[in-house]
Symmetry: C2
Subunit: 150 residues, 2 copies
DNA sequence: GCTGAAATATTATAAGG
DNA sequence: CCTTATAATATTTCAGC
């Protein structure tokens, strides 16, 4: 992992679909070493994959909410059950276990308010082991999909 | 935006760097219409771009924290100043303005506890307009980088 | 809107310093 | 660890249905 590798990673965080030819010219190297470096970054796991970044609004997903979840108990089985149930809901884009309270932060998207209400009543508030759900809507993305600092 | 387009989007959310040839075979179409559809999805803005997904741990970024920020005032100028200052910190990966309290959720990464402490004392707590910062560490990612539900 | 095909460009590998 | 060279693939465009 030298400066060239970091350069490659920076380019691919901005545009993950440029050709190796283009990538090579941006990092000022010929194609073969660029290719070799890229394979090594992929195989070592530094690059976990490539994702198309979609626009949720353009797909009709206009509602984004955050849920702050406090669990009734914090034993292993309760947490595993909750995590599996949360992961099974497609609208759940992200979920993290936190230190302290609340126990979890969960991010969800939905089409509109009506869809969110249904999701909330029928699925989110019924997740197993939950004591309390506090939720808030996202008004605006101030910083989004920022590349990792290298 | 028909079923084939949604299929294309689903594939590219999983692997954003597959060739059009491979993509075409996965969506059971020949190359040229796949190519045309992809271009249209890109040009219409449904696909905002492609990103390499990096492993923060592999890059030595082992600390991830969430900051819940309450502002002293909520007038336009105060908020703009805060948002620009937050966006200028490379460790800030994500920031959102919320309805209600707190006003902002900010996600940051850093190398380790010492680096986080410095970041917190020297930059995060000094963001302009802030009344209160509550922060918590991320223990574990339960759901990460989930594709959007199509 | 799709198919098939042709010209151009890229990828992946190997030989050699 | 790089450069150059080469064969195999892929991209991009277009004529025709």
């Amino acid at each position: 992992m030298d400066a060239v590798d970091r350069n490659i990673l920076a380019e691919l965080q901005m545009n993950g679909r440029i050709s190796i030819t283009e990538l090579a010219s941006r990092v000022r190297l010929t194609v073969s070493p660029t290719h070799r470096r890229l394979r090594e970054l992929e195989e070592s796991g530094v690059i976990r994959g490539y994702r198309a970044a979609l626009d949720p609004e353009a797909l009709g997903l206009k509602f984004e909410a955050l849920l702050f979840i406090t669990m009734r108990e914090a034993n292993h089985e309760t947490l595993v059950r909750f995590e599996e149930a949360a992961a099974a809901i497609p609208n759940v884009l992200e979920a993290q276990r936190l230190f302290g309270e609340p126990d979890y932060l969960v991010r969800v998207v939905s089409e509109d308010l009506a869809a969110y209400q249904r999701l909330y009543d029928e699925q989110l508030t019924r997740l197993p082991g939950v004591q309390r759900v506090a939720s808030t809507l996202v008004m605006k993305h101030v910083v989004r999909e920022r590349p990792l600092p290298l």
